[in-house]
Structure formats: structure tokens, C-alpha cells
């Protein structure tokens, strides 16, 4: 009989327990979830063995929320309440959207001065794109929890590299609503590069050409000794396979000389258009047949020749950003080792040919273009969760896609952080007051490459209050931008002469405010009441347990960096957290976590110093060895 193992009291039986982490590709058309199992990244299928989850959500009038295939079957029957391609709405206002007229939705008008993010009126009330995305993420989360059978440590969620701050923030908010702990937002082409690079032990300079359902990204990466360094990225966050479908849809309308269509008929023909496009990937001609509600019958043949003719401007539209990214990386097409193709839309032969002609080499298609992003995300999630194995020493250095700046006098943009800066990155600039006794200041943060504020995207307006009254021009207000490893911007301001931290109120132009998110989270709690409360408590407990383990492990490694007194203080905080951890007082747990975090800040700084010193010392010894 096998002997059972019993661990020492107070010690976990598995100190290096495998943490459950997932990678999510939240796509315009389809979404996927993947994880690393026994060292291999795998996509998690649904109960019927299907890897994809169509990014479709239906808010039925009976209160049911359907996600994926179930919602997809209702596309034409219930177009107003069945939301497709919601990713195109993330962090976007109504005037940013194309083809609004052929969309069957009932857009809700916002009171916000900038227009705010679009919202949709459904049978279940007004829905923000963030909430719709959260429903897709909930579906993937449920799939992962069922497959993995446990509490998830966290998720890496991919976003188009060209997503701006508002679109990224909206994605992170959606994950929060879905109850996911976001380990990192990862750029889709970078995720693909990880999957490709690690699989093929690739070295050199690679381009990743990623044409998805609604977004286009091009990233140039340098792969050296396990470091994935993004040199430049470019793209178009409103260009994808959907646009090819739309061209075919317009062609059908024109050819069949149809009268204005009902929403149901329009949806039907949009589906037929997409099917025809996909059919042309392997055939020279695609039949298009549909019976409309009016009794009219559509019967057309779309040839490759016509398809290429009506879509060639879209193909060409991807080459502009490609050139720009290469120029930003100071490279020419012939210096690229290989081009990795990602996204379902790269299956189109015309795209393959255009890429081959541009780079002068055959694109790399040996990965499933639908799955590669999710697989890369899962690999990254596994690493971030702390499941490190031999050979997992690779590092990712990514960039921000668009410059960040502030509005100055005359509606001009002062750029603080240029595009393609490696993240995390910070920049600060001093400003002064215009009037005597001025105690407040308004800041307008924008993102984009143009010189005029009106040509850039408004991210947020900040109001700084509590500046000590001084004569005009005497105050020195240092405004600092910090972009974190998710590519998200945080702004802070401090009056330099007095050291006074100004209070900042943020009004996102296209995002949801913290209050709105809090309200949505709260609505979730009251809906499912007790169950959701338990779940939230459980999440905080798991998080607290992680913190306890992290601090204990740090103490085991580096207790020598602390004085007796400092050690005693940390031990105190630890004991306090461990005592409240088992209870059901969420606030007490959060307060104890906060105290422990603060209590270990100096310790963390010393540990990092030690690590940096070792890195440099190691380098020097290595170099001496070489002599």
C-alpha cells in the first residue's frame, strides 16, 4: 500500500503547487481560452470539442443571456439583441464607427460631452461594450474552470497591439467585471511571436502580420537569446475580415438590385457574404443563395477575380502601417528573417500574395492562425503565475503603439511619450499657473501622432485641485505619465516647491469611470446575491493567501536584508493577515493586505537592489572569464 504523505503543520503540502493560469484571445469574431498542461500550451475546447467560442452575445427578452454558438444561431432571427463584433465598439464613440447604418442595433445616446463609449439598447436594458465583452469572458472563464477543476490564479488577455489606452482599459474593465484577475494585457502579435519563437527556437528579426476579424496589427520583433523585443508596431484598429465581408455584402446589394432590407435580411446576407469569402480561400468561385423575408431570391456567383477587385483597397490599406512600422524600426523589408501570419483573415490568398510580394519571402503559415494568439497568451500566463520550469527564462519587451501627450495652449499637443517606447515607461514635465492665486488646473490627455488635439484621440480630462495659491508662474506642477507593462497610462501631479500632491479627478473620454465599474460590479452582487458575495470573499482570500506565500518566500530567501526590528514588524503584519484570512470580513482582509504590502515596501526595494547588483556582478565575471 502506498504511504500517504503528511506535511508538517503550517506548511503547505505543495510549496510549488501548479497555479491555474489561462490565456484568453478575446477576438472580434471568435474567442479562445488556452492553458499550459504538463509543459504544453493547449486550447481548451467546449463540451462538444469545439475550440472557438463565437464572440456573439444575445440578450433575450426572457432574461436569458446566450453566448457563442447558441447566440450565433439567433443572428438573423433577433438581430437587435444579438451582438456581434463588439470588440469594434470597445473604447469607441458612435462617430468613430463605420457602417453604422447597416447595423441592426439600437444605439443609446450618451450625455457625455465627448460622446462617450457607444452603448446598446437591448431587451435586457442598456449594455456597454464592456459588459458584452464581460459576458464573453464569463463564458470562457466557466469553460476553463470546468476543464481545470479549480480556482484560477489569473488570466492573460490579449489585445490588438494598436489598441489605444481607452480600448485597453475597456478590455481590462471587462475582465474585472467577469471576475478575472488580469495578470497582463498582452499584444496579440507579441503573443503569436512567443508561440512561434518558442516552438521554433527562432532567432532574428521577425514581422508578425495579424489580420483579425476587426483589427490589423503589424509588429516587428527582434528575437535574441530568449528575449522577445518589439522594435515597432503599427496597425489599424478598425480594419479586418469584417470589412471584406462588408464589401461582399455591398456587392450583393448592388448585383441583386435589392430594395432597403429589414435588419433580419441584412444579417442573413452578411452571413452569406462571410461564407462566400471563406469559400473562396479554397475555390475559384463561390455561390451565394438566400431567400429573403420579402420572398425575393438572391442567387449570385462571386469569382476570385471580382472579390479581389472589390477588396484590393483593403489589402493595400494594410501595407501603409507595415511600411511605417519598418521605418520606425529603421529596417527595410529584406532585413526581415520571416513573416509570421496570424488571424483568420490571413487565409485569404490575396493577403498571402500581398505579404509575399512586399517582403520578398514566403510568409510562415505553419501555425494555426486562429489558435496561435491564445497559445502564446497561455504560455505567458503560466510564466506570470509563477509556474516556472527549466527553459522558461525568456523575457518580453513590448512597446506602446501611439504617442501620449497633453493639450497645451492653442489646441496643440505636447508629446510626452513617443510611440514605440518600450514599456514600462515614464516621463514627467513641469507646468505652471497662468493667474495669481490659481489653485486648480485642467489637463487633457490625448493619444496619437498628429500635432492638433482635434486630430488625436482624447483619453481623459484631469482636474488638479489643491494647488497652493501663489503668484502666476511661481508654482511648479510636475505632471508625470507612467505607462505600465499592460500599456496602460496613469497620470500623477505634484507641486514641486511645496511638495503638495494635487488631487486628481479623472474623466475618461471613452471609458467607464471607476464609479460606473463599481456600480456594475455591485449590480452583479445583488443579482446573484449571496453566491456572488461568497465568490468575492473567496477571491480576496485567495489573493491574500498568495500575498502571504509571496512574503514568506521572500523572507526565506532574503531575511538577512532586514534588521530585527524590521523583521518583527513584517512578522506582525503577516500574523495579522493570517488571523483575519480565515474569517469572512472582506474589508478586514483587504486592510491587513494593505498593511502587509506597505510594511514590505522597503524590503522589496532592497531585494530588487540585490538582484540588480547580482545581474551586473554576474555579467562582469562572465566577461572576465572570456578574457
Amino acid at each position: 500500500m502506498a504511504l500517504l504523505q503528511i506535511s508538517e503543520p503550517g506548511q503547505s503540502a505543495a510549496p510549488h503547487e501548479h497555479r491555474l493560469a489561462i490565456g484568453i484571445d478575446l477576438g472580434t469574431t471568435n474567442s479562445l481560452v488556452a492553458t499550459v498542461r504538463s509543459g504544453m500550451a493547449v486550447v481548451l475546447n467546449d463540451e462538444l470539442g469545439r475550440p472557438l467560442l463565437p464572440s456573439v452575445v444575445r440578450y433575450a427578452s426572457d432574461g436569458k443571456i446566450e453566448v457563442g454558438y447558441a447566440a450565433q444561431t439567433q443572428l438573423a432571427a433577433d438581430p437587435r439583441n444579438t451582438i456581434v463584433s463588439v470588440k469594434r465598439f470597445m473604447g469607441r464613440g458612435l462617430k468613430d464607427l463605420e457602417h453604422v447604418d447597416s447595423m441592426p442595433y439600437d444605439f443609446a445616446v450618451n450625455g457625455n460631452e465627448a460622446g462617450g463609449m457607444v452603448k446598446l439598447r437591448t431587451a435586457q436594458g442598456i449594455k456597454s461594450p464592456v459588459e458584452v465583452s464581460a459576458d464573453i469572458l464569463r463564458g470562457l472563464r466557466a469553460r476553463a474552470e470546468l476543464a481545470l477543476g479549480g480556482q484560477l490564479t489569473g488570466a492573460v488577455i490579449t489585445v490588438p497591439a494598436y489598441f489605444d489606452d481607452a480600448q485597453r482599459q475597456a478590455t481590462k474593465d471587462a475582465a474585472r467585471l467577469a471576475g478575472l484577475n488580469v495578470l497582463r494585457l498582452l499584444n496579440e502579435p507579441t503573443a503569436a511571436a512567443i508561440a512561434y519563437g518558442l516552438d521554433n527556437a527562432a532567432e532574428g528579426i521577425y514581422a508578425v502580420y495579424d489580420l483579425g476579424g476587426g483589427t490589423f496589427d503589424i509588429s516587428i520583433l527582434k528575437l535574441t537569446k530568449g528575449v522577445f523585443q518589439v522594435l515597432a508596431t503599427g496597425g489599424d484598429s478598425a480594419l479586418g475580415g469584417d470589412d471584406f465581408d462588408h464589401r461582399v455584402f455591398c456587392w450583393i446589394l448592388e448585383q441583386a438590385r435589392l430594395k432597403p432590407l429589414s435588419h433580419e435580411d441584412a444579417r442573413l446576407l452578411q452571413v452569406r457574404a462571410r461564407e462566400a469569402k471563406e469559400y473562396l480561400t479554397a475555390h475559384g468561385e463561390a455561390p451565394i443563395a438566400a431567400r429573403l423575408s420579402t420572398g425575393e431570391f438572391v442567387d449570385l456567383r462571386l469569382t476570385t477575380g471580382i472579390f479581389n477587385e472589390i477588396t484590393h483597397t483593403l489589402v493595400r490599406k494594410t501595407l501603409g502601417p507595415t511600411r511605417k512600422a519598418l521605418r520606425d524600426a529603421r529596417l527595410s523589408p529584406d532585413e526581415i528573417t520571416g513573416v509570421v501570419m496570424v488571424g483568420g483573415a490571413t487565409r485569404m490568398p490575396a493577403i498571402q500574395k500581398a505579404v509575399e510580394d512586399f517582403f520578398g519571402c514566403e510568409p510562415l503559415n505553419n501555425l494555426d492562425p486562429d489558435k496561435v494568439v491564445a497559445l502564446g497568451a497561455a504560455t505567458q500566463a503560466n510564466l506570470l503565475a509563477g509556474n516556472r520550469a527549466a527553459g522558461d527564462d525568456w523575457l518580453l519587451l513590448d512597446v506602446i503603439p501611439l504617442s501620449l501627450g497633453l493639450e497645451t495652449m492653442g489646441g496643440l499637443v505636447e508629446k510626452l511619450i513617443p510611440r514605440n517606447s518600450t514599456i514600462p515607461v515614464a516621463r514627467a514635465q513641469d507646468f505652471t499657473t497662468f493667474k495669481d492665486g490659481q489653485t486648480a488646473m485642467a489637463l487633457h490627455v490625448v493619444q496619437g501622432e498628429r500635432e492638433l488635439v482635434s486630430d488625436c484621440r482624447s483619453l481623459a480630462r484631469f482636474e488638479l485641485r489643491g494647488i497652493p495659491p501663489m503668484v502666476a508662474g511661481a508654482a511648479r506642477i510636475r505632471v508625470a505619465f507612467q505607462v505600465d507593462a499592460d500599456g496602460l497610462l496613469a497620470v500623477s501631479a505634484r507641486e514641486q516647491t511645496t511638495g503638495h500632491e494635487a488631487h486628481i479627478e479623472v474623466k475618461p473620454s471613452y471609458g467607464l469611470s471607476d464609479d460606473e465599474i463599481a456600480a456594475m460590479l455591485k449590480a452583479g452582487y445583488t443579482h446573484a446575491s449571496d453566491d456572488a458575495f461568497r465568490r468575492a470573499l473567496r477571491e480576496v482570500q485567495v489573493e491574500a493567501q498568495r500575498l502571504v506565500e509571496a512574503v514568506q518566500s521572500a523572507l526565506r530567501e532574503d531575511a538577512h536584508l532586514l534588521s530585527m526590528l524590521e523583521r518583527a514588524h513584517i512578522d506582525n503584519c503577516l500574523a495579522r493577515l493570517q488571523s483575519v484570512l480565515v474569517g469572512d470580513d472582506r474589508r478586514a482582509i483587504e486592510a491587513a493586505m494593505d498593511a502587509l504590502s506597505k510594511g514590505t515596501a522597503e524590503f522589496a526595494a532592497r531585494r530588487m537592489n540585490q538582484s540588480v547588483r547580482r545581474a551586473l556582478a554576474g555579467k562582469r565575471i562572465e566577461e572576465m572569464d572570456r578574457l
Binding site: R19, L183, R184, T224, K225, V227, Q229, G320, R323, K324, R327, Q380, L383, L384, A385, G386, D393, L395, L396, L397, S421, T422, I423, P424, V425, A426, Q482, D484, A485, R546, L547, A550, V551, A554, L596, S597, K598, T600, A601, F603, A604, A605, R607, M608, N609, Q610, S611, V612, R613, R614, A615, L616, G618, K619, R620
Partner: protein, 174 residues
């Protein structure tokens, strides 16, 4: 180790204009492999904040040292020489004449939507910039900060024009 030490010390490199860029890159990768937030994502929030600040600092230092013009400005600043970019716009007459002629050529090519001409101007300017960098390094290593400051101002002027050519090409190509 001091978080606020100068960029050269951070990488353990000698404080001079001549730099082995391959070595800098290798050091940069090694440092980031230690401090990057991805390496600390499973640790406590305090350690994650530390990681972000360090990685930010390493990125900034790398940028400062990698680009020869920035490196030169930084060296002058460390040595206490004010380059006076905003106030001192005086440049040798011959340099200004050559630059004005170049600017006119760029404007003409831009107006004529002549991509080839812009390309050629870009290459010519890049060649001139490389030559100036050699002089800049000599001035810095030879202990002539006044001359180095002058060259820095000229190079900033030229790089600005180079950017404008790049922007013009971008507009024409799209």
C-alpha cells in the same frame, strides 16, 4: 545600489561617448531579465511596484545611452555644461547655409510629391549626421565641451529635419 545613480553607473559602463552598443544591449537584456514586471507578477504588490519602477528606470537609461546624441547631451549635463538648447541658437554661417539649402530641397520634393528625391535627401542627411557624430565624439573625448555643445545643437537641428522627411514620406506613401 542606488536607484538614482547615473545611467552609466547603472549599467556599470565607463562614463564616455565611445560605447560598445552590443555590450550595452546585452547588459540591458540582463538587467531587464532581473527587474521586469513579468518576472515579479506572482509576487506581492510592493515587489510589483518596485519592478515597474526599476524596469522604467532601466528603459530610460538604455534610451539615454543607446542614442549617441542623447548620450552626448547627457555626458555634457553630467559634466555640468549647459548646452543651452532653448537660448543658444547661434550656429556657424556655413552650416546654416547648407541646412537652408537642404530644407528648400526637402520642401520642393514634398510639394512635387517626389518620393525618390526625398529618399535621396534622407540618405544624404544621414551621411552628414554620421560624419558630425565622429566630430562630436572627438570633441567629447578631447575635452572640448564648447565645441561638443555646438555640435549637439547642430545635430538636433539636423535630426529634426530628418524627422520631417520621414513624416513627409509617410504622408506620400499612404
Amino acid at each position: 545600489m542606488d536607484f538614482n545613480q547615473d545611467c552609466f553607473a547603472l549599467f556599470g559602463l565607463p562614463r564616455r561617448q565611445e560605447l560598445d552598443t552590443l555590450r550595452l544591449e546585452a547588459l540591458y537584456r540582463d538587467l531587464q531579465a532581473r527587474v521586469h514586471p513579468d518576472k515579479h507578477a506572482h509576487l506581492s504588490p510592493a515587489e510589483q511596484r518596485q519592478a515597474m519602477q526599476w524596469a522604467t528606470r532601466v528603459n530610460e537609461a538604455y534610451l539615454t545611452l543607446k542614442d549617441p546624441l542623447r548620450r552626448a547631451r547627457y555626458l555634457l549635463e553630467l559634466a555640468g555644461h549647459d548646452v543651452r538648447l532653448e537660448t543658444n541658437t547661434a550656429m556657424p554661417a556655413a552650416f546654416l547655409m547648407a541646412q537652408m539649402e537642404l530644407r528648400e530641397a526637402v520642401a520642393a520634393a514634398k510639394a512635387g510629391r517626389d518620393i525618390d528625391a526625398l529618399d535621396a535627401l534622407q540618405r544624404r542627411l544621414e551621411k552628414e549626421i554620421r560624419a558630425e557624430h565622429a566630430s562630436l565624439q572627438a570633441a567629447l573625448e578631447g575635452g572640448d565641451p564648447a565645441r561638443a555643445g555646438e555640435l549637439v545643437r547642430q545635430l538636433m537641428f539636423q535630426e529634426k529635419l530628418l524627422h520631417e522627411i520621414g513624416d513627409a514620406l509617410e504622408v506620400l506613401e499612404t
